[in-house]
Amino acid sequence: MSSSNTHITEGIEDDFASFGDVTASATRVTPGNALRPEDIAVAGEGPASDAVAEYALQLGDDALILAQRLSWWISRAPEIEEDVALGNIALDQLGHARSFLIYAGKRLGKTEDELAYWREEEEFRSAHLVEQPNGDFAVTIVRQLLVAVYQNLLYTELTKSSDQTIAAVCAKAVKEVDYHRDHAIQWTLRLGRGTEESARRMRVALADLWPYVGELFADEQLHDDVGDAGVHPSTLRSAWDEEISAVLADAGLEVPQVPDAMSRGRHGEHSEHLGYLLAEMQVLARKHPGATW
């Protein structure tokens, strides 16, 4: 039954030598050949117009604020497996945010960190939905479902963007977001069908978050201005409705009949929650102006 490797301590000194080399780089290693945020910083042109930069900022801010929200769960999730899963999703979103912000910053003359840490609340372009607090696990899962299905449709379209950087970032991001979507759907089924309590919590979460869906699909002047570089979000709504209705039906849940809230995050008018989120996120960086980390 035991393996035949006698004297497993042979070479133990080499083991010590191969670990603990702190001078090797910890950060300049990335799996595969995927487009990294750092690559965007050094290669290629910035956005061709201010509108495209603004559009990239919008995409980046949604991902950044969602990442910040989700990262709170790490060490607090219902199962350790979910610490890993939500951490993974947060990390993906943060990666997308960095790519979009770096790209926008090339035209705006700012780094990703200047954009994340030194903009004021009204300069952010995030939608109210991603700003909503984590609530209980049901709220987080419903927010994930609504956002991931939206991002999946949006990024799929944006892989055809006339802006090559946006297309490339989305080509990578869409694969990850597809996993986020699946994760949210699997949990929606479990919580919707699981127990009376879990279904009750899901109904509350759906009703509380639904008012912020409309903002995601509202066409703005910006969408005309960016042309083929972007997508008019209204064109994604029917596919989104169809997919969400099907998932909710499978989960034994209903599409809430509640009106949209007036949400103008794209214009810098944010929920009350964003200020606290930014205060926490920015506090250390702002204590040390000009510092590098």
Partner: protein, 336 residues
């Protein structure tokens, strides 16, 4: 799978019963002989092999404590995820804390191969019956602590764990190989954080030095009490679980960080630290073992906070786990 584990767990209990009656069964004698032979050959024990009850208990305790340490150890670092001062640092820190959750998971799996289910191990942690590495009961007060924890705490963990890759119990050794590779990455990212701070503004450099000052002594104590005061070490070494004594490993670690701190341009808070040519040993200051004992037994700055947070996550997640279980039962019924 779970049933299988239970059977394995039951087997040695019968053995123990036989032992109490002072007449080992033939099966037990044969098992012991086989076990002794594997240990003598310095080879691996696998889950289905017969093993002495003490070996099983020692490993279950050690592996589960290690798993708990990974899980509790997420907290001091999670404390800085939302405030990380750059997006790149935030991403690296998130990946690191996520790795720790992963380590916890494979260590719990390794412990389960010895017959104790994860739920029970988790209960031991939440009820305060199980221990975890006392270092995580110190607070992570500043961003520089992310550096010091990576460099010193993960560094000490690596020194401890590298020899465990060759522990006689197969599943533990194999889990440790993967854990060590990732820990090595963690140590480097910690070192990089400190290096950046040490080369930054005066305030940043001070922050880095302060963090090293606070984590130096607790990290040296991570190797456990001095050899003369470590009653379990000898048996663990005889079983080829432990390969070096606590003091040996501490020596190695000190030798490593003495060189590395020079690269950082920081100092270790130990005026007595010197290499003694005659004994070939690093002489460091007397460590405060009273504090170590106090922290282990629950009086550290964050013991209560750490366990409360874990309990809160567990309790808040109860309805989620119930829903998942109910759903799984419905699906199983559909198939049947």
């Amino acid at each position: 799978m779970a049933e299988h584990h239970t059977k394995q767990a039951a087997a040695p209990a019968e053995g123990k019963g036989a032992h109490l009656s002072a007449v080992p069964s033939d099966a037990e004698r044969a098992g012991q002989a086989h076990f002794d032979e594997i240990i003598a050959k310095d080879s691996r024990i696998e889950p289905r092999d017969w093993m002495p009850e003490g070996y099983r208990k020692t490993l279950t305790r050690q592996i589960s404590q290690h798993a708990h340490s990974e899980i509790i150890g997420m907290q001091p670092e999670a404390n800085w995820i939302t405030r990380a001062p750059s997006l790149k640092r935030k991403a690296i820190l998130m990946a690191k804390v996520q790795d720790e959750a992963g380590h916890g998971l494979y260590l719990y799996s390794a412990a389960e191969t010895l017959g104790t289910p994860r739920d029970e191990l988790n209960d031991q942690l939440l009820s305060g019956r199980a221990k975890y590495s006392s270092i995580f009961n110190y607070p992570a007060r500043t961003w520089a602590d992310m550096g010091a924890i990576g460099w010193l705490v993960d560094g000490a963990a690596i020194a401890n764990q590298v020899p465990l890759c060759r522990a006689s119990y197969g599943p533990y050794g194999r889990a440790m190989v993967r854990v060590c590779k990732e820990e090595s990455f963690h140590q480097r990212q910690g070192f990089e954080i400190l290096l950046e701070l040490a080369n930054g503004s005066d305030q940043q450099k001070q922050m880095a030095q302060d963090a090293v000052d606070r984590f130096y002594e607790p990290s040296l104590m991570m190797f456990g009490p001095p050899d003369g005061d470590s009653p379990n070490s000898q048996q663990s070494m005889a079983w080829n679980i432990k390969r070096f004594t606590n003091d040996d490993l501490r020596q190695r670690f000190v030798g490593m960080i003495v060189e590395q701190v020079k690269v950082l341009g920081l100092t270790l808070p130990d005026p007595e630290l010197r290499f003694d040519e005659e004994s070939g040993q690093w002489i460091h200051k007397e460590l405060n073992w009273d504090e170590f004992k106090a922290v282990i037994s629950g009086n550290g700055p964050c013991n209560v906070q750490r366990l409360a947070r874990r309990r809160e996550a567990h309790e808040n997640g109860a309805w989620v786990r119930e829903a998942a279980a109910a759903y799984a039962a419905q699906q199983a019924e559909k198939v049947a």
